[in-house]
Symmetry: D3
C-alpha cells in the first residue's frame, strides 16, 4: 500500500467510511483528482453527448467509445456524466455451493467503494463482460445513492432490475440476471485500472453515458474535449436549422463535414 | 402411454379438451401436482422475486436461475408466478417450402397444451434457444389467455409482438421473429422434461419471472423456498431502511450479509 | 454508368438533388419502379404485419423475413411500409486516426441517397451487420425526414439514439453505438442490391417492419402478397372472435390452420 | 413403456445387455429398423460424401445437413457411415458440488445405450449444443468400441481428447472440455428423437460424417438418396476429368450443373 | 459496363475465357494492374509473413490484417502470396427448395472468375461471413488450379474439405459445411470491392495468408510494405540470435522494439 | 510495492533479470512458492490429465477447469504441467496509429515476466479473451524458452503461429491473429491474480493443459489433488482392462462410478 493511500485510509477510517472487510492492499487510490465540476454541469445539459464526444476522441486518436450494442442502459432515456470510481472482480475459486457450505465470507465490495466515493461519482465495475453473474443489485444501488453516487456502468451483469427501475437509478450493463455475485465473484482491486468492453478506465476519468453507449474521457483530456464539444454543437445546431429550412445543397455543402477539415 | 395418462386423456376428451391432432403417445402427463396456490398468491405480491429466489436456490445447491441476458421479457415490468406446463419441439425434417408443397399437416401443438392446462398455469416451450423460428404468436396467446394461462416462457423465439403487447400477455423469450414455426418445428412431447437455457423444467415446477430473468423452483422445494424468501425479505426491508437513514457502518455491518452466515 | 442513369443524373443535378461527392459510377439506379401506393396505404393500417407477410412469403418459397432477434426497432411499437432505396458501404482502408490526420474526404453518403429518394421511401443501409460503427445518426435522420423518407433499416449500427427517439423517426438496426462511420466506412454503391441479415434487398422492394422484425417483398410479388394478406387477415379475425367466445374445439378445428391447406 | 419395447427389454436383460440404472420408461425403442448394410458399404467407399448427400437432400426438400462450422471432427480426415442410436440429456437440477455431497447416483447413460446397439451403429448424443460439459470421454469410447459402435456425433462437448485420438475412434462434436457430465447432465431418453444443431435425428437414420460436417438421411429415404448419389458421382468424375484436360468451355458447359436441370 | 471492360470482355470471349452465364454488367474489371512478381517471389520465401506485414500496415495507418480467429486455413502450415481477384455474392431470394422446383439457373460464378484470372492469382470470395453455405468446393478448386490460381480466401464457408486436403490447394475460410451455395447464393459482382471480415479488398491487392491469418496490402502500397518488411526481418533475425545466445539485457535492450522508434 | 517485493527486485536487478521498462509498482510478487517438482514430474507422465484433474476439482468444490472450446492448443497433442507466472494487460488508451505517430514507448511486458520466471514455469497472460490482438508471438516464445519456461496459456490471441509450431513450444490460446499487441495493449500487473476464461489463476498455481483444455490447481491443493488423481487412475486402468475383456455387466457395475460414491 502506497504511503499516501495509507494516510487517506486512516483519515477515512476515522470518518466512518471504511467497511473494513476488503483487504486494504487492494485499494489503489482513495483521494484522487476529478474533472472540473463546471464542465460536468455544462456537459450534462447537452443532447447526444456520447456521439459528439466519440467524434472528439476520434480526432485526438483516443480509444474511448463503447457501443450500446455491448453495454446498454437499464433505463432508456437516461444520461450520465461523472468521474469514475472503479472496482475489479475475479471469479471465486470455490463453486457457489461450496462457498455456502463453508460459510465463507462474501467478497463483493460495492459498499466499500461507495463509501470512498464523492457525490457525483459514477461507479464502474469490471467483471469481464460476464452475462450471468450480478455485479450489483437494488440494495447496492440504494447504498450508492445514499452515498451520492449518480449512476453505474458495469462490464458484466446486474440484478434487481425492477428495483433499479423504481429507484430511477441510471445503470449501464452488459446483461441482466437474477444470480448474485456472492460466492461467484471476488472483489480484487478498488480504484485501479479496469476495462469496459475494449476501453480502459482509470479512477477520475470522466464517464459519459446515454442510449447510444458510453464514453470514457481520460481525466487529463477533459478540458480539451469540452472545448471541442462546444464548437461542434454550435455548428451542428446551425446545420440542423439549415436542413429544416431545406436550403439548397450548394448552401449546405460548405457547412457539412466542416469540422473534419 | 402410461395407464394414468390414458385415463386422464379419456376424461379430458369427454370434456372437449383434446384437440386430437397431437400424437397421444407424446403426452407424458395430463393431471399432475401443482404448488400450493396460497404460496403463489404470496409470492406474486413481492418485488425483485427472481433475485431473492435465486439466492435461496443457491443456498440449497439448486441450479434454477436463468439470466434475462438469455431469456428476457417481451413486456418490461411484468412479473409472473405459476406452475409450468411444458412443450418440446424439434426441427421438421422437410424444408418449409417442401412442407407447403406437400400440404403437410402442421405439427405445432400450443393449443393442445393450453386445453390441458389449469387456470394460473405458465406455458413453457422449448425449441432449443433458436432465435429465428417462432414458438407462439398473438393468436396462440389469445387461446392461452382464454384457457386461463397467465403467461409463457420460451426457450426460443416468439412472434406477433405488437399483438402480445396489446393483449398485455406476459411472455419471456430468447428472441423475436416474424417467422412461423409452422413447417419449421414439430411438437414432440407435452408435459415432459424441458430445458430453459441451462435449467431443467418439469411440469408442475413453479416458474417465477421478472425483468431480471426467470427462476424454476422444483415442485418439491416450493414450500421450503417460500419460507426462506419470507425471512430474507423481512431482513432486507429492515436493512434498506437503515441504509436510507444512513446509520453508521458499525451499525449496518452486523446486518449486512447476515443471511449468508 | 448505364445510359438511363446518366440521363437521370443530369436531370436530378439540374433539380439540385445531387450532392456531388459520391462517385457517380457507384449509382446503379436513380429512377426505378415502386410498389403501388394504394397497397402501401392498405398495408400500413394492418396489425402484426411482418408475421402475416412472412407466412405469405413462406407459401411462395421466398426468403424474405428477418427476425427482430437480429434487426430490431430503436423505437418500440412502430410500423413501417415503404419502398427501399439502398446504400452499401465497406470498411475504409485507413484507420480512423490516419484518416483524420490526412484530412481525408469523408466517404459516407446517406445524404446523397436521401436526395435521390421519393417521399414515402425507406432507407436501407448495409454495412455487413457490424455492431460498432454507425451507419446514420440524428442529423442524417433530420435530412432523411426533410426529404420525405419515412424510416430506415440498417444492417449495422446507428447512433444519436436520443435524437432519433425525440424526432420519432422509425429506425431498425443491428446495434447502437456512439462511433461515427466517418473515416470508418466508405459508401460504395447507391441503389444496388444489398443484404439485410440473410435477405437480399433490391431498390423498389417493399420493406415492412414492426416489433417482430422486418420483411422484404420483391417488387414483382407485392400485388400477389397483398391479395394473400387480405384473405388471411379476414380468416384470422374470424378465428380470434371464435376463440374469444370459446366455441368448442369441434367448431374451431376446421378453421384452424385452414390457410395452410 | 410400449408393449414391444417391454418385450425387447426382457430379451436384452436375459442377454446381459441391460445395465439397469437408467429408468426403463425412458427407453423409446430397443429393436428398430436399420438401413441396408449393402448401401452403407458402398457409401463409405466414396469421397466427399457429406457434400454429395447434402445436394441430394436439397433436391428432395429435406433439412439434413450440419456444417462442420458447428459440429466438427475430433480426428481430421475420418469418415463415418452408420445408423443412429440416440441419447438425450438435460441439465441436472443440483449443482455438481451438491450432487457430490449428496452422493447422488450418476445419471449419464452412454453405457446403457451402447449395450443396446448393433455393430456398425453410430452413437448420437444430444445435450443442446453445450460447449462446456462432456457427453462422453475416452472410457466411454472404449466401451462403445467394445460393443461394435463405429463412431459418435455429439450435439455438445466431449472429453479425453488424447485418449480418443489414441484409440482412433471417430467422434464429431460442438466442443472439447475437461468437465465431466457427471452431476451436470442427466440422461432422459434412449432412442427417442434428438437434435443435432438444427437437424432432427431418429434412431435408425443414416448418419454420414466427414471433415465438411454431418448429414442425417431419414431411414425411409436412404435407398432413394443412394441411387441419386451414384448418378451424381459418375457425372462428377467425368466432369473432373474434363476439367483436368482443360477442354474448352463450350464442351464443359453442357455438363456443368447438369444435375440441377 | 465500362468501355475498357467491354473491350476486354470481347477479347476474352474470343480466347474462350468467358463462360457467359454471369451477367456481364456485374463484371467491374477484367484486366487490372497486379503487384510486381519479383516482390511476390521474395515474400513467399519469408516466415511469419502475416505478422510482419501486419506490423508494417500498422506503421502506415492501414487497416489490413484479419485474425485466423475469424478466417483460418483449411490446411495448416500453408502460406500464400498473390494478387486478389474477387467475387461478391448475395442470398438467393427463393428458398433452395423453390429454386430446385422451378429448375432455376444456378447463379454461382466461381468458374467465371477463374477464367478471367492470371496464373498466381488468389481467389477472394465474399459471402458476408456466413458459416453455413459453401462458396466453393473441391470441383471448383480443381477448376481454379487448372486456371493457375494458387489459393483462395473466403469470407464465408467452403465444402469438400477432404478433396481440398487431397488436392493440397490452400484455402482460408470462416467455416466448413456440406451445404452447397447453389440455390442459396447468387454471384453479383466480379472484380469489385469486397470485404474479408472487417477489411476491404480490391482486385489486384496483394493477399498474404498463413496460420496466423490473412493480410491485405493495397496494390499501391506493395512496394513500400516490401521495403519495410525486409528491414524488419533483418533486425529480427539479428535479435533472435542474440536471444538464443542469451546476451545480457543491457545488450539486448537497444535492439528490442527498435523499429517502433 | 510490498517490502519483500522491493528486496527481491533489487536482488534480481543485480542478477540482470530486470528489464526495467515495466513500472515496478505493477509487480505483485517476484519470489513465490511453487508446487512440489516431484508431483509435477509424476503428473506429466499421465494421460488425459485435465479430465482426471477436473473430476478431482469437482469433488472438492473448486472451479478450475477450462474447456478447449474456449482456450485450445496451438499444437495438438501437447501436454503441459507447471506453475503459473502471470501477466495482466489492458487496452491502450490511444489508437495504434496515434501510438505510432507519437513514438510512444511500447507497454507489452512478456520479456519482463520471463526474466522473473524459474525453469519449468508456465506463462499465463490475460487480455480479457480478446480474439484480435496478440499477447505473444514467436520471438517472445524464443525468449520464454531461453528463460526455461515450458509453455504458455493466453486468455486472448497469439501470433507467429508458424514460428510457434516450428519451435514446438506449447501454447494454449483463445485465438490466432497477425495483429501485434504493441500500441494495442498495455501490461499492467505482473504476478497478480488473473482470469483464464471464467477461472482465477494466482502465481504459483499449477497449470495443467492438454487437448481437452486447461485446469488450474490452487497451489495449496496440489498435494491433495495429486493423491486423488493417483487413486482414480489406478481404478480406471483396472476398469479399462475389464471393458476390453468384455466382462459381464454384473461384474463391471460395482467398479463403474465407484469413485463417485
Amino acid at each position: 500500500m502506497d504511503e499516501q493511500v495509507r494516510k487517506d485510509y486512516e483519515e477515512y477510517e476515522k470518518q466512518g467510511r471504511i467497511w473494513g472487510n476488503f483487504d486494504k492492499e487492494g485499494i489503489k487510490k482513495i483521494k484522487f483528482e476529478r474533472p472540473d465540476r463546471r464542465i460536468i454541469k455544462e456537459l450534462i445539459k447537452l443532447d447526444d453527448l456520447t456521439c459528439t464526444i466519440s467524434d472528439v476522441l476520434d480526432s485526438m486518436g483516443i480509444n474511448g467509445a463503447i457501443p450500446a450494442s455491448y453495454i446498454s442502459p437499464i433505463i432508456p432515456g437516461k444520461k450520465l456524466v461523472g468521474p469514475a470510481i472503479t472496482l475489479r472482480s475475479i471469479p471465486e475459486r470455490k463453486t457457489p455451493t461450496q462457498g455456502y457450505l463453508d460459510k465463507d465470507f462474501i467478497r463483493m465490495a460495492t459498499r466499500d467503494v461507495y463509501y470512498l466515493a464523492e457525490p457525483g461519482d459514477v461507479f464502474v465495475s469490471d467483471y469481464n463482460g460476464d452475462l450471468e453473474v450480478s455485479n450489483l443489485g437494488g440494495q447496492s444501488c440504494t447504498v450508492a445513492k445514499s452515498c451520492g453516487l449518480i449512476g453505474s456502468v458495469c462490464n458484466g451483469a446486474v440484478r434487481d432490475i425492477p428495483a433499479i427501475m423504481k429507484m430511477d437509478f441510471p445503470v449501464w450493463s452488459c446483461g441482466r440476471t437474477p444470480k448474485t455475485g456472492k460466492f461467484r465473484l471476488a472483489a480484487i482491486e478498488i480504484n485501479g485500472p479496469v476495462t469496459l468492453w475494449k476501453v480502459t478506465v482509470l479512477p477520475g476519468d470522466l464517464i459519459v453515458a446515454d442510449d447510444s453507449g458510453v464514453c470514457v474521457i481520460p481525466i487529463d483530456k477533459v478540458e480539451q474535449v469540452f472545448e471541442k464539444v462546444k464548437s461542434i454543437l454550435a455548428e451542428e445546431a446551425n446545420m440542423r436549422e439549415m436542413i429544416e429550412k431545406k436550403v439548397p445543397i450548394a448552401e449546405l455543402k460548405p457547412h457539412y463535414r466542416k469540422r473534419y477539415k
